[in-house]
């Protein structure tokens, strides 16, 4: 019973996925960068051969560096998820700082602290940019004007005197309540289900 559910938890397997993904990004990006650099630095007759040699020499090294960084970052992120039992952008920021500090620990404590601060600031900028982009994209979507759906269930008898107590304000409260739970269809948002009041 627990096996299919634990397999949906991404955290231990995501480390390996992130190592492969980071290596792919580093190898492809490093290939493109060093190909252009080799083209620029080679003499006139040997540009393509020089570029090919530069890619062959440097692309695996860049891929390896990216894989190390991505793997460590993912491991620290999973550690934060396990420790805090929640997922929010703070996990990524702390994981970035920990990765930077850990990779520079061999150079001394001062350099390690500096790299940790730099990693944290970099991840904070990335997360902040992501949140701002998400807010901008969500603000761009026009709100669909949908007629209020009638309540599928009639109100309970216990609710009637409360609703009857408000003469004009009762209608306003009803509209406010229906506004709170109306089923507006959005891409990334589900309206709450109509509660069926069965206790246990």
């Amino acid at each position: 019973m627990g096996t299919p559910e634990t397999s949906r938890e991404p955290c231990p397997d995501r480390i390996l996925d992130d190592i492969g993904g980071a290596f792919g990004m580093g190898a492809v990006g490093g290939s493109a960068f060093h190909f252009l650099k080799g083209l620029y630095n080679s003499p006139k007759g040997d540009r393509f051969v020089g570029a090919t040699q530069a890619v062959r020499l440097n692309a695996p090294r860049v891929g390896g560096s990216f894989a190390v960084w991505g793997g460590l970052f993912s491991a620290f992120d999973c550690t934060m998820v396990y420790a805090r039992q929640k997922e929010d952008p703070w996990n990524s920021i702390v994981a970035g700082a920990a990765t930077g500090g850990f990779l520079s620990m061999r150079q001394g404590l001062g350099a390690s602290a500096r790299s940790a601060a730099f990693g944290g600031v970099l991840l904070a900028l990335i997360e902040g940019a992501g949140i701002m982009l998400n807010k901008f994209l969500s603000a761009q979507q026009p709100m669909p004007m949908i007629m209020d759906e009638p309540q599928p269930q009639p109100p309970q008898s216990s609710e009637q005197p409360w609703l009857g107590g408000w003469f004009g304000g009762g209608n306003r409260e009803e509209t406010a309540g229906s506004g709170g739970s109306e089923t507006k269809i959005l891409e990334s948002f589900d309206a709450p289900p109509v509660p069926n009041f069965e206790y246990k």
Partner: protein
């Protein structure tokens, strides 16, 4: 290098010359003069040959010094003659403008980051409050186990899991409402949470509703919070 090797060959030839002079001296003086004067005469002649050797070495060292001095001149002369071009005032001003623009961009990025993260956005604030309320509740704990993890969306992507679907709206009385959806997962099951909070008159967030829809071990729906406004018949 070549000059040093040539000087070495010269010293070898000088030694050979010295040997030949010694042999000639012994042949001439042996039949005529007794032994003591012959001892004195060859001593003086090697001294003269040694002095000639030292003179030749001095001359060679002088020539080497002159050559070194001559070699250095062509490289140092152009360095002293490079004219310095002054930077105009307009160019310097444009550089300072570029620097100020860069600092402005950095300040804007820093402000955006601080606004979104240090002053936490509303959806994460409500997400934290709702998740803490759920983690401390016994009804949910009985069903899905104790370490309850909350995440935004059911995906393996880190950004998608960290982003909380939310909607912010204001009712006709000017009160701000924030609705959030997120998923919870425990050792024995998982579920989905629907929560709404509004900012009351005392400027604190209060729950309008908090509904936990448990799906995994058995389907259940738990209402943890449900707001009922204060009732006054005079209004």
């Amino acid at each position: 290098m070549f000059r040093r090797i040539l000087s070495h060959h010269r010293t070898l030839s000088a030694c050979a010359h010295n040997a030949t002079t010694r042999s000639l001296a012994t042949r001439r003086h042996a039949p005529n003069v007794p032994p003591p004067p012959s001892f004195l005469i060859p001593r003086s002649r090697p001294l003269s040959s040694k002095t000639s050797q030292s003179n030749e070495a001095a001359e060679s060292s002088n020539k080497a010094k002159k050559d070194v001095a001559n070699v250095e001149d062509p490289f140092s002369a152009p360095t002293y003659n490079i004219p310095e071009k002054p930077v105009t005032f307009v160019e310097g001003a444009s550089y300072s403008v570029v620097i100020l623009a860069g600092l402005g961009i950095a300040a804007a990025a820093g402000y955006a980051v601080f606004k979104e993260l240090i002053f936490q956005p509303k959806e994460y604030k409500i997400y934290n409050k709702a998740l803490k309320r759920i983690q401390d509740d016994g009804q949910v704990r009985v069903r899905i186990g104790f370490p309850i993890t909350g995440y935004g969306q059911e995906s393996r992507n880190r950004a998608a899991r960290q982003r909380i679907p939310h909607r912010v709206w204001t009712d006709e009385e000017g009160v701000e409402h924030v609705e959030v959806n997120f998923y919870i997962r425990g050792p024995h099951g998982h579920g989905k949470v629907f929560a709404e909070m509004f900012k009351g008159t005392d400027n604190e967030w209060k729950f309008t509703y908090l509904i936990v829809e448990i799906r995994a071990p058995s389907t259940a729906q738990i209402i943890l919070e449900s707001y009922i406004p204060s009732y006054s018949p005079t209004k």
